[in-house]
Amino acid sequence: MDKKAIFFDKSKCVGCQACIIACKIKHHASPHPVAPPEGDPKGLSPINVHEYGPVIKGDRVFMYYQPLACMHCQDAPCLQACPETAIYRDEETDVVLVDRERCIGCKFCLWACPYGAPHFDDQGKMVKCDMCVDRLRQGKPTACEAVCVASAIMVRAPEEIAKIQAGKAADRVMKEIPD
């Protein structure tokens, strides 16, 4: 099984948030939502969609939706930050996973993660995107990737993702944000 990386394409996302619901189904496998942590109205969603805009500048409209789950970073700050060594890397797929038995819900991973990927369930344990590692092992797409009408989520081998990302340079992203 190949190593996998994930790419969330905001140039394609239409903010329908089907990925959020698909992820909840996959992770909770229950018709009822896991109780949301401390007053967070959106509930527990390992994947989130950030909305920006619309901002109108003359004739240009800036609006995008950025889906974001976990980037499964190579040098994962969450993994390094965990005092209980509860976060680890799956050898086969390179996916970053969490051992719920060891997790004490201290949130040190949350503050280390630039993407806000860790979430905490009603038992205080960390839950985050696991890149549907069980589906990956069956050769299936992740739940979010499968359901996306806009083809905005891609799970591929890391080299492929790197190529796609190079094609959508971060600089171009920065240029798009108006002063």
Binding site: V14, C16, Q17, K42, P54, A143, A146
Partner: protein, 713 residues
């Protein structure tokens, strides 16, 4: 060893019908995902996925109920199905006998695959009064296509003819997140990825506007003017498809004359779209073809509904974008054939035809067999002798969907008998005499025919419904049998067998296959060049051509050419009113999580969007001291409702857009019905569209101000 299986079915949470795979374990649904083998390739939306929270939802109706106490008191006693169905059937028969069949109204809401059952039931009863929101929803487009082109047109996002659209025009439509109406988001977005140009016509930015080549931010209600202005440019600059126009259209010269009344300067003033953009858009869609027009319901919720759509058809036709690959195409049907026959084969009687509410006025409206809801409720309010006495509703909320909620309620209360079939105790069901619990699509077998006609699929039951809830199809069959058994069947399976008989398959066989489709090379383009519609070629219209000048409209006494009509209430038509109510209100804002009044009680959807929202420009709000997420009153001379303001820069500061059909399942009563439901502000008293009876939902006037909190916490 636990029993886990995968059921292949079709989602029914909107018109779309995405293919789904349902994981069921020990009789409980564990997962819902899209079916990668279906035409929608495994994609879905938030609504369909969240239906996993509908089967066990505590708000579900579980037993047939009979009212005790006053109507709307919400006091019920549980009864058995036989008593419920017998009562409804008997009331229908008695009313029919005493006041004539037209005194019975069968009604439904937005299509969910059983339109033809409602029609068949109405025909069984012999009433001309099948009621639905059709006058503002899809029927106008359908009728306009029928009379102009002889066949319904869809944008070709599939490329089966070898070409994808080069230009896509999204006109008042957000297929990427809402109402598929036979065109699915995934096909649309795939085609968009291949298109060169995207032109968006919408008073607000959509999720695709940042990618559009052109965004025409038009004033709500001015669509016809814009289309006519574009045609002015296209015709006067000679950019039209000369061959198609010459060989296949009727009335071009008359259209040419008409569009001279709409030069870009004038259209710019009417629509608030800069002249240069109008010209640029017109040139782009005419020359960078094939062009597909994705036209939305927005054009129909207007007093100029018919002409809005007539203008669109003319625009399609003069640019040669009919039946050409990558343009507007009429899809050929599957082997199951013309499924509409299930509803239409029982001929409408002259008595029924004459008794259609609004039939005397709204000739196009009644062509689709739907009578006019506003007329039905007005007759009730006014004690008109020809009014409805008995109403049976299935999956509809007139109190939320139709204009002027208070007027609808007044009419509803005057009915002799009201029965409502629904999954939940809806605001309308609260006023019923009998309520029937309906099973969800996850809990039902069924035939799903809302797709683009090239596709037709099976709905397969995955789990048992809660309590005694039964499927829509079973309910219709049981009612039908009691009224006139000759049109109905012994079992639901037989119903389905009959429904799909032309395919040569039985229901059991069809269920196993899951779908029928006609795609790829099986679809033919340029059908008008063959004998498909007419021997020797042509379209199935009176003249055999695409009627730019509509002989049918002329026959019925309507303007045979498209024209622009100012909305009933606007800065220009009612300047005095505008002084008091200085904002243009569009009362139909959509979200990806709800479908009109549906899904407020689904936790995973409600948490995405907990409150009714009105979009307002930050400058407009700032001038009134309104902060983002403040609760505000939206008010006009007919009343006021409260919604949460959301700052939105993608709107003209003079326009606000309020969400439609809001109610609060957690406190379902008369007070909350009137709290945030924007239809408190709409009306059916002002002139509707003359041909379809369409009411205005998208261009009204209002004022907005902050809700002052009584005691600040």
């Amino acid at each position: 060893m636990s029993d886990e299986r995968i059921v292949k079915s079709t989602c029914c949470n909107c018109h779309g019908g995405c293919g789904v795979l349902i994981t069921v374990k020990d009789g409980v649904i564990k997962g819902i995902e899209g079916n990668p083998q279906s035409t929608t390739r495994g994609t879905m939306c938030a609504k369909g996925l969240a239906s996993i929270q509908e089967t066990n939802n505590p708000n579900r109706l579980r037993h047939p109920l009979k009212r005790v106490g006053a109507r709307g008191e919400d006091k019920w006693v549980q009864i058995g199905w036989d008593e419920a169905l017998d009562t409804i059937a008997n009331r229908i028969k008695e009313s029919s006998a005493q006041f004539g069949p037209n005194s019975v109204v069968t009604g439904q809401g937005t299509g969910r695959g059983y339109n033809l059952f409602t029609l068949r039931l109405a025909s069984t009863i012999g009433t001309g009064n099948m009621m639905g929101p059709a006058h503002v929803c899809y029927l106008p487009r359908l009728m306009v296509y029928t009379i102009s082109v002889g066949a319904r047109l869809m944008p070709d996002f599939h490329g089966w003819g070898g070409d994808f659209p080069k230009t896509i025009v999204a006109w008042g439509r957000q297929t990427e997140i809402t109402n598929s109406e036979n065109e699915m988001a995934v096909w649309f977005l795939d085609a968009l990825a291949k298109a060169k140009n995207l032109i968006i016509v919408d008073p607000k930015t959509t999720r695709l506007t940042s990618r559009a080549n052109l965004w025409l931010q038009l004033r709500p209600g001015t669509d016809a003017a814009l289309a006519l202005g574009m045609m002015n440019v296209i015709i006067n600059e000679g950019l039209y498809d000369k061959e198609f126009v010459a060989d296949w259209t009727h009335g071009f010269e008359k259209l040419r004359d008409r569009v001279q009344d709409y030069p870009p300067e004038k259209v710019a003033e009417i629509t608030w779209v800069p002249k240069e953009k109008i010209i640029k858009a017109a040139r782009m869609l005419a020359t960078d073809s094939p062009t597909a027009f994705n036209v939305g319901q927005a054009l129909e919720a207007s007093n100029n509904c018919t002409q809005n759509n007539r203008a669109m058809v003319c625009l399609m036709a003069i640019t040669g974008n009919i039946e050409r690959p990558g343009s507007m195409v009429n899809w050929m049907l599957t082997e199951a054939g013309q499924l509409e026959d299930f509803g239409r084969e029982i001929k409408i009687t002259p008595e029924a035809r004459d008794g259609m509410a609004g039939g005397d006025k709204f000739k196009l409206g009644v062509m689709g067999r739907f009578s006019n809801p506003d007329t039905i409720f007005r007759k009730l309010r006014e004690d008109d002798p020809g009014r409805a006495r008995v109403m049976h509703l299935h999956g509809t909320n007139p109190l939320l969907a139709y204009a002027d909620t208070k007027a609808i309620l007044a009419g509803l209360l005057k009915l002799d008998f009201l029965s409502v079939a629904d999954l939940y105790m809806s605001p309308t069901a609260r006023y019923a005499d009998i309520v029937l619990p309906v099973a969800h699509w996850l809990e039902s077998d069924g035939v799903w025919d809302e797709h683009g006609l090239f596709h037709f699929s099976a709905m397969v039951k995955a789990v048992e419904p809660p309590g005694e809830a039964r499927s829509t199809y079973w309910i219709y069959n049981e009612l039908g049998r009691r009224i006139d058994p000759k049109y109905w069947f012994d079992t639901v399976e037989q119903v389905f067998d009959y429904f799909i008989r032309r395919s040569g398959l039985t229901w059991e066989e069809f269920k196993k296959i899951g779908f029928l489709k006609k795609t790829g090379k099986e679809q033919k383009y340029y059908k008008y060049k063959t004998d498909y519609w007419r021997k020797g070629g042509g379209f199935r219209t009176a003249t055999g051509k695409v009627e730019l000048y509509s002989t049918t409209m002329e026959k019925y006494g309507y303007d045979p050419l498209p024209h622009y009509l100012e909305p009933n209430e606007s800065p220009y038509s009612t300047p005095e009113l505008y002084k008091q109510y200085p904002l243009i209100l569009s009362a139909s804002l959509r979200t990806p999580y709800y479908f009109l009044s549906q899904y407020r009680q689904i936790p995973w959807l409600r948490e995405r969007h907990p409150d009714p929202t009105v979009l307002i420009h930050p400058e407009t709000a700032g001038a009134m001291g309104i902060e983002n997420e403040d609760w505000v009153w939206i008010e006009n001379q007919r009343g006021r409702v409260k919604q949460k303001a959301k700052f939105f820069a993608g709107l003209d500061p003079r326009v606000v857009m309020a969400q439609q059909a809001w109610w609060y399942p957690e406190r379902n009563n008369e007070e909350s019905l009137l709290e945030s439901n924007i239809n408190v502000l709409t009306t059916s008293d002002l002139p509707p569209d003359p041909a379809t009876g369409a009411t205005t939902f998208r261009a009204l006037l209002c004022k907005v101000y902050k809700v002052e909190e009584a005691a600040n916490g």
